[in-house]
Subunit: 152 residues, 2 copies
């Protein structure tokens, strides 16, 4: 399909991810928690935003798959002629090439976050870091929706 | 801080999320798997990208928190004067207001995906859907990085 020429929202890169993989042909399909150490470099002025992240064992990493094409509604990952819908895959090829991983936090040294478990290319732009959802308890008080179950 | 005036990458909205919550004061802090049924509407031309998603029990939903401010490096969610770094929180206020949830897939009806477990406002723009990472096995053949452990 043809991508729209205008975009609906804009992203800012808040860091860069350094991994051992410099070619798309080497990069893992899926990160592993015992994988190589990777370094996430945080850009100014976002370094103080790391404060408090050190207490979590795992961190959700959101990044921009900057080399991916964005125009495939269906694709064939095994190149066997069997096409599947893009939303049923975790392929980097998608309308918004957003990658998400849950990485093991090894440490934070100044503006650098050390993790294991990534599967992206060296130089990948960083968009966001969050504590892993299964470890995080909201600090703000609950709201009515937190108690709501079943159909509205 | 002052946000940069230029952005580094652009997003396209591929759908819209319909939830019971029309005010930020009602919206849950955290979705629950037994929460209200929510409808994710997929825009043309992305409807065929859903093909194959129906086989997964859970789906990762990535969306754009369109009402959030983006300029806080530190914030105080409990409004108690204790500020924490933005990357140590799952607050909607972040440099790139990207929300991620893992929702329970109830069904797919044409261009509509029915799920439970969301915690976003009615009308939130959709950016991406992927099978939950813990349920997904890559279809493409493994690459050298998939076997790599420890330090590079």
């Amino acid at each position: 399909m043809t991508l729209p020429t205008a975009t609906d929202a804009g992203l800012v890169f808040v860091g860069r991810i350094h991994t051992p993989w410099t070619s798309r042909m080497d990069t893992p399909r899926q990160g592993r928690q015992d994988g190589p150490l990777c370094r996430i470099e945080i850009f100014d002025p976002w370094v103080p935003a790391l404060d408090g992240l050190e207490q979590y064992e795992r961190v959700e990493v959101i990044y921009w798959l900057h080399l991916s094409r964005r125009d495939l509604v269906r694709q064939s990952p095994a190149h066997d002629g069997a096409a599947r819908g893009t939303f049923s895959l975790r392929s980097p090829v998608r309308p918004n090439p957003l990658g998400t991983s849950v990485a093991r936090l090894v440490g934070i040294e100044g503006a650098t976050v050390l993790v294991r478990g990534l599967d992206c290319l060296d130089g990948t732009p960083l968009l966001d870091l969050k504590p892993d959802r299964t470890l995080f308890t909201p600090i703000a008080p609950p709201q009515p929706g937190d108690l709501q179950t079943g159909n509205p």
